[in-house]
Subunit: 194 residues, 2 copies
């Protein structure tokens, strides 16, 4: 029985390692080419396609896991932002960090838009969206941000502005060096109370 249990644990450890290798390989491959195939990703991970499909039944399922992972890492970065004090200064820091995450993950964003529904992408952003919502609500109470639009709308607009900037950079219409200031100015134009 001890041997059987040890065997089971070792299989589980293998499975966890394989999933980690696959997600890591997918992030690498998708960053090189958002249209990277399952075969490319298996090769990068040093695993067979059967093993890959054993963990992720389809490319959308794998892209979903990659987006979840990238957002988790982003959450850890955003969690370090000091949220006490002035909501405007906090929001400015949050926008700059978020832009950096979007910019670094532009290829993953393209893959996500190709494979996942808009609603699924929104669901995966629930963590960062909740953070932004709290911050906007806090700023509203102090009179820092406008109160004549639903907070859910303002959160959705921040998402649209950040990802619109990503698309403009990807299309070569926006200099990535100009993006953080432009995004910040756009968000504040929207949030400033009239």
């Amino acid at each position: 029985m001890a041997t059987k249990a040890t065997g089971e644990m070792s299989r589980r450890a293998d499975a966890v390692r394989n999933v980690e290798s696959i997600i890591g390989a997918a992030i690498t491959c998708l960053a090189r080419d958002p249209r990277a195939t399952m075969a490319d990703i298996a090769k990068e991970a040093g695993l067979g396609r059967v093993t890959l499909y054993g963990h992720f039944a389809s490319r959308p399922a794998l892209v979903d896991a990659v987006v979840a992972r990238v957002l988790e890492r982003g959450e850890r970065v955003l969690a370090e932002i000091d949220v006490d004090g002035d909501p405007r200064a906090t929001l400015a820091r949050l926008i700059r960090s978020s832009w950096r995450l979007v910019d670094q993950s532009r290829a993953v964003v393209v893959a996500a838009q190709d494979e996942l529904s808009a609603e699924r992408i929104r669901q995966l952003h629930e963590g960062p969206a909740a953070r932004v919502q709290l911050l906007i609500e806090h700023g509203r109470e102090r009179g820092d941000f406008r109160t004549d639009m639903p907070v859910s709308w303002l959160v959705a607009m921040l998402h649209q502005i950040l990802h619109g900037a990503g698309a403009e950079v990807s299309a070569g219409r926006l200099d990535p060096a100009q993006a953080p200031e432009l995004v910040t100015k756009t968000v504040f134009a929207l949030l400033d109370p009239r």
Copy 2:
């Protein structure tokens, strides 16, 4: 020869009719369900799948043609807006008409986001984007709109705001009756000169 030419003309007329039937059927099917299959669309058009695939090699190719058609129709609506006179009033009319088009085509928008790249969607919007750009430039000359952001950015943001509203309505987070006013207010918050 005359008979051959007549036969050729008749085949071409059939092809044009079939393409029209397919696009019409696709718009109907996608409005019911953005995930409607090629088989669903062939059935709705009263054509065989071989004929359907003869005209559109893949679902993305058909969705591309549907989006182009929907935007063409939209262009005709937007072309009727009187653009002389006050750019702010013109823009307000343009936003309301554009919102109506986005709202009516929400299911097609979902299908487009699933099947087409963000850059292809942008290319298909070149007509309406050019219209908005001219209007913003005209308003800037008169001091009606801010001049401290690239005009291409402002055009991209209008697109993001309109489609963000579509997504919020689809997700049940925004009452469609409130959308036109909210979208208009958001666009003007961004465009107002400081």
